[in-house]
Amino acid sequence: MSDFQTSTHRERWIFQPQDLVNKWTTANRRSAEILAQYGTTRLKVDPVDGSISNPEPLPDHGTLVGSSSVKPLSCEEEQVMRIFYEQKIQEVCRAFKFPHKIQATAIIYFKRFYLQWSVMEHHPKHIMLTCVYASCKVEENHVSAEELGKGIQQDHQIILNNEMIVLKSLDFDLIVYAPYRSIEGFIDDMDDFCRAGNGAHQRLKDLHQTANSEVDTMMLTDAPLLYTPGQLALAALYKSNSALSVLDFERYLESVFSRQHFDCPVEQFIQIISSINHLVSQLQLPGTKEMRHADRKLKHCLDPSSSSHDDHKKKEKKSKHKSKRTASDAQLNS
């Protein structure tokens, strides 16, 4: 779809920073309340109509009210987990040699999903895989759940089980616009702008590549929920150009603005670019210790019995724990 202007992406999925904070806080609070009330955050799904309801109170929870040893994740810890699994999406997509677009779509799905849910309600590892799977379907690069599961030693049933909840949480708005294509467009345009000779061609190619990897990092920030793909692309190009000095960027921006209609003046646009790049510079990739801590907390929230050696429950969740170890722990320990 060429028309971002009329897209659901523009209309419904670009937010103000405060909107994001509100949504995350709401989901986090809801989940913390459920934890306090029921002793677990694992939601109960009705097998008939798929409606989601609060968990069954744990049999021994009554005596523990107020003194539950299980603590909910904080908003910050949730963020750590999200970023960690967004990196995982990139890893999985690289391992499968998927085109960039698929990775970006999957990450945007993942971000949108967790605007409505806390990681305590749906384990991000499962959602991450399902987002990759859905992204492949939407981008006409179909990979079967089984193939995807096999490739990363995960139970593919988890992917399928979560497909509907993911699609529904996305409100079935499945077409997303990634900045990579915008970058391509701008590079072509810069080619004309520079009236590039052979040498400049190569330098624009380098700029293209650097900007692409800049966007890879940008995808791990909140920027894709706050700015349009065109804005993200220009921010990435701006930053890459400051390193490579291929062209006079401000003059280029002015030429773009003189040819096209924009919602804001150039000055404001430059402000946007610097806000985006500020977000990127603020990005903190989760450290091993931090992540392990959050992961352990999440495990207890989803399955409090894991801390009290409940064999019966353990057995039930066995496969999940096993797979979790292969995904996150292996990475964490490396």
């Binding site: 009329t6 109509d49 409606s51 759940a145 708005d173 077409i175």
Partner: protein, 470 residues
Amino acid sequence: MGDGRGGGSNRPAWLQQYELVGKIGEGTYGLVFLARLKPTHPQAAGRRGSPIAIKKFKQSKEGDGVSPTAIREIMLLREINHENVVKLVNVHINHADMSLYLAFDYAEHDLYEVIRHHREKLNLSINQYTVKSLLWQLLNGLNYLHSNWIIHRDLKPSNILVMGEGEEHGIIKIADFGLARIYQAPLKPLSDNGVVVTIWYRAPELLLGAKHYTSAVDMWAVGCIFAELLTLKPLFQGVEAKATPNPFQLDQLDKIFKVLGHPTVEKWPTLANLPCWQNDQQHIQGHKYENTGLHTIVHLPQKGPAFDLLSRMLEYDPRKRITAAQALEHEYFRMDPLPGRNALVPSQPGEKIVTYPVRPVDTSTDFEGTTSLQPTQPPSGNGPPGGQPVPRQIPRQMQQPMGGMQRMPPGANMGAFGAAPQAGMVGMNPGNIPMQRGAGGQSHPHQLRRKADQGMGMQNPGYPQQKRRF
């Protein structure tokens, strides 16, 4: 889009907002129902009792989740909004069997039925105004899609709906986006999606195995539909060579060449690069075709604008083929009668108004598509009016739940909303839903006729074989 969180009954909350009227279609990937929004439901405000077509998608292949067909249709329709494109009103999930239900604004007619009515019931060609208005609206919707980089890839009369009486009477809605896709910067060659477009409406570049194709494939289909509106007969009725992954369809090409003459590299330079043209010297390159002349088939003066437009749509070289945008500007649309918004009601006074039959509804089914096993009513009650040579008993597969569907004859027509009405206003109605049709005194002269089309060849041998999908 709400399938609400509440409720633990067997009927999910979202389902309760609809009153099921019955089944109106059935296809390889699901069923289509006619329903009405219950007046009590808050969402029904302002659209009280509006008819809704609900398309139920089965799961895709065993164990691979939501079918890509459903995904394509949803993702595209969520983004687009045009008077001549079907409107997706809602998406619902049935968690019990993980199926998706897509709710559309209901359209009473489709071009397949309109053409058929003229051919078989009226024995009268469609009037100039209606043909032109239908064509113009079809092009208008298509131009919108193409300018949004969407190729429909499955245009044919049964996928082009026409609104029944009401505010949008006589307006065309392009439907069934199950094969549609965005062709801007595809990650893979489009040909990877397998063979597309029902064979009769399939462009020659597809039949010759083009790896990349463009929106021009839709324009070829429009040309075929234009001719069909004029003559009431499909223009190129080839017999499909099945069970071959090869796109090459000799019989279909043969039908085309017989009418349009042999394509040449001079007229179509990239022809030489098409895989099947290179590989099949003997059959297609060797054979010399007489050009029988398109104009004699469509009975149009060769110098008139209508013929000019048609022949530009049926241009062999996809790069020379007229685009939807260009077609809308064609002289044909600037001369009398001018195209109008209500294609079914001619603007000139004195013109005879044709009343088209309403879609037949099978009321013996529930939303799952399972047929009630209660004893059937005698056909006299809701059966077809007399005089029609149609089978009276319930088709076998209708007596079975869901699974029976797969045994549909392969040539079955999938009509409007992507699946054709499937026979049979007989049987009880399990949900005790009031019969909306038939009892109201409205005439509906052809309920069972689709069955006759389904490979039985009862009414019109040679007309089935509408669709193949791989």
